[in-house]
Symmetry: C2
Subunit: 143 residues, 2 copies
Amino acid sequence: MDSIEDIASGLNSTAIHLIRRLKRQDSQLNVGPARLSALSVLVFGGPCSLSELARREQVTSATMSRIVSGLEQNLLARRLPSPHDARALKIEATRTGRQLMLKGQKARVHSLVKDLKRLRKKDLVCLQQAVTILRQIGGSAPD
Amino acid sequence: MDSIEDIASGLNSTAIHLIRRLKRQDSQLNVGPARLSALSVLVFGGPCSLSELARREQVTSATMSRIVSGLEQNLLARRLPSPHDARALKIEATRTGRQLMLKGQKARVHSLVKDLKRLRKKDLVCLQQAVTILRQIGGSAPD
DNA sequence: TCAATATACTTAGCATTACTAAGTAAGTAG
DNA sequence: CTACTTACTTAGTAATGCTAAGTATATTGA
């Protein structure tokens, strides 16, 4: 077996390649990566405040404010007043936003499925387990 | 076993989380992501022309020209004339650049190793195999 | 109650990184 | 030698990150 360092290094480069491959699919949506990522939080995690969104995306509130402005211009999300706190916002995806997100997700997954289909069943089981293992470690990572 | 779609979807979100985690380490280097990524090509792949670098990083030559200018300002890489073609450049990492890259690589790997150490041997073997499997598919991805 | 503080968000200014379009210099083909 | 191609740069625009500073609302405590 490789050393733990080798495995970590392998995970590093593998993740880089995987992400690059998946990003190529996103480019057809004509929405920047920051907006797409924030939108996915809204679609899969439900509406939330701007600061909560900023925290999950690990950017400052100032940056998130502009990302949300961009999403609004693209009609993918909207700002609503928060029911309990007049300072805060409730940000939610529009119908268009949900549709775009699901379309993008489909394209990403499809591009991977094409390659996974060429694998033996044994290898698929291995990847499935690997995903489960990696989900457990680093659980602090936001969505 | 999950469907192939589920596994693909799992790989997608796992890669996103992994990358985000690793990027946090990079932020301490005070070099932007595009420069860091280009520098890694130079350090681990050796000197190459600007267009070759652009091709590997999947950006236009115009974009790469500015990234290389940034690397030069940071004293991390230098432009040299290409021996065989007066139009082209040979771009190479400086000693400082190599050192910075290796330091960054170490930080990335170290942050993962800390978590991997908590896993059982069986799980480590699984991750190692997963890396091997993922290296084979999508081999067209650049470095 | 009211003043001080804290929290939520926005705006402005700067740097990086992406694009296209347009320009320069050098190699190649007829 | 002319026309074309290739390699790179520069300029202009847009998206995305930051910090600093401002506004509005909530909370705390004398």
